[in-house]
């Protein structure tokens, strides 16, 4: 059981870290603002989700609940924030 939990932690956290790497690469390499934005939000939502998943077995009940709330908040925030940023970027391009 504990082995299984440890395995979940290692896989989850490792994969999460990888997605953060992917998000960074996307932010730096992708050609224009909107594609960068897409890549970024996908990657960091997924990355944080996987890390939270990996940490769940080690966090206890109330701690785990908090972790999930945090993830949900980040999902909410980043989707709205990216929409807002996208609007600004879109308008900026039209004006240019």
């Amino acid at each position: 059981m504990s082995l299984l939990a440890d395995l979940l932690t290692i896989v989850g956290v490792g994969a999460g870290a990888f997605f953060f790497l992917a998000g960074t690469v996307g932010l730096l390499r992708f050609p224009d603002t909107l594609t960068r934005l897409h890549a970024l939000t996908k990657a960091d939502n997924l990355g944080l989700g996987l890390i939270v998943l990996g940490l769940l077995p080690r966090a206890g009940l109330s701690g785990g609940l908090k972790l999930i709330v945090i993830w949900a908040l980040v999902l909410l925030a980043s989707s709205s924030a990216s929409q807002l940023i996208a609007r600004v970027a879109h308008r900026g391009e039209r004006e240019r």
Binding site: L73, L76, A77, S79, S80, Q83, L84
Partner: protein, 313 residues
């Protein structure tokens, strides 16, 4: 391993700080500053100061970040003009030299701090029981050095009076900020409907947790203020008129209750701002609740700025 982490974190923080100063673009400087604030919050965790980290996140990251980003966008027009007045190379070099001298002196002072370090940690823990709270930082803020905290809440109110006094005469007592016309179906309005309940819960939680764990009225108040500003920015509720009596009493309620409890201490516990042992925790929590509301209102209004419009009947 963790030392390496600290070193890398410090280097990134300093690099970001340098960029804040030397960035050509004013907005890039502000954004770098926001990133810097985030990383400093991590540094506080590394320094075993979760209370400070919470404050840094809520106040510097949340409120100051919003404030500065807003200001940078509005001042964009004159940014280039101001930047053209950059000092000559010689002056910059001389300034850099002197700054290095000051920083070097400070570094020397840090390394020369005495060993073993003097500390009040033991005294604080030993005197914790009569205050009734479990978090030593809260005990320092609310009991051992409560006077500083009291004066600080007054400072916040005074800063707000100062900001309001910048309004043109005819707008005195009016509402701060521009009138928001928000898209009721946009992402902002959506956030402004979903987040406030969570924000209130988190603020109250931080206040409640503050008695025994990291947290407290300032952190909770800052989060409450940010939540309030979100609702205003989304256009779901207008900024309040600054002549309102309810608002003004709310602003001073925290410091006034603090003062009242302080003076009651002269009779009940033989000293100003002393708490009778049995009542200590209840009184501290009561003051914290009032402070939470006052601080939230004051910080929110500080960010909204001076009154800018008068209601036309």
């Amino acid at each position: 391993m963790s030392l390496l982490f600290d070193i890398v974190l410090s280097l990134i923080v300093v690099a970001l700080a340098v960029r804040v100063i030397v960035a050509e673009d004013g907005f890039a400087a502000v954004v770098s500053f926001a990133a810097y604030g985030l990383l400093v919050a991590l540094a506080w965790v590394r320094l075993y100061a979760a209370d400070v980290s919470l404050t840094e996140v809520a106040i510097s990251g949340g409120l100051a970040g919003m404030l500065l980003i807003g200001a940078a966008s509005r001042l964009r027009a004159i940014d280039a003009r101001a930047a053209a007045q950059r000092s000559g190379r010689g002056v910059r070099l001389f300034a850099a030299l002197l700054s290095c001298g000051v920083a070097g002196g400070l570094g020397l002072a840090v390394l020369a701090l005495p060993d073993p370090a003097p500390s009040l940690a033991e005294a604080a823990v030993a005197n914790l029981p009569p205050t009734g709270v479990g978090n030593p930082v809260t005990a320092v803020l609310m009991a051992f050095r409560a006077t500083d905290t009291l004066l600080e809440t007054v400072v916040v109110v005074l800063a707000l009076v100062g900001v309001w006094s910048l309004a043109p005469d005819r707008l005195w007592g009016g509402r701060p900020g521009a009138r928001e016309h928000a898209d009721p179906n946009g992402p902002l309005a959506f956030l402004a409907r979903v987040l406030p309940p969570i924000g209130v819960v988190v603020a109250v939680y931080l206040l409640w947790a503050g008695a025994s764990e990291p947290g407290g009225a300032f952190q909770g108040g800052a989060i409450l203020a940010a939540t309030w500003l979100l609702v205003i920015m989304a256009g779901l509720s207008d900024a309040p008129a600054t002549h309102g009596h309810g608002l003004r009493w709310l602003l001073v309620a925290g410091p006034l209750l603090f003062l009242a409890v302080g003076f009651a201490g002269i009779w009940l516990a033989d000293a100003f701002l002393a708490y009778p042992t049995d009542w200590a925790k209840a009184l501290i929590v009561a003051v914290e609740v009032a402070k939470l509301l006052s601080v939230a209102a004051a910080l929110g209004l500080l960010l909204l700025g001076p009154p800018r419009r008068i209601d036309t009947p």
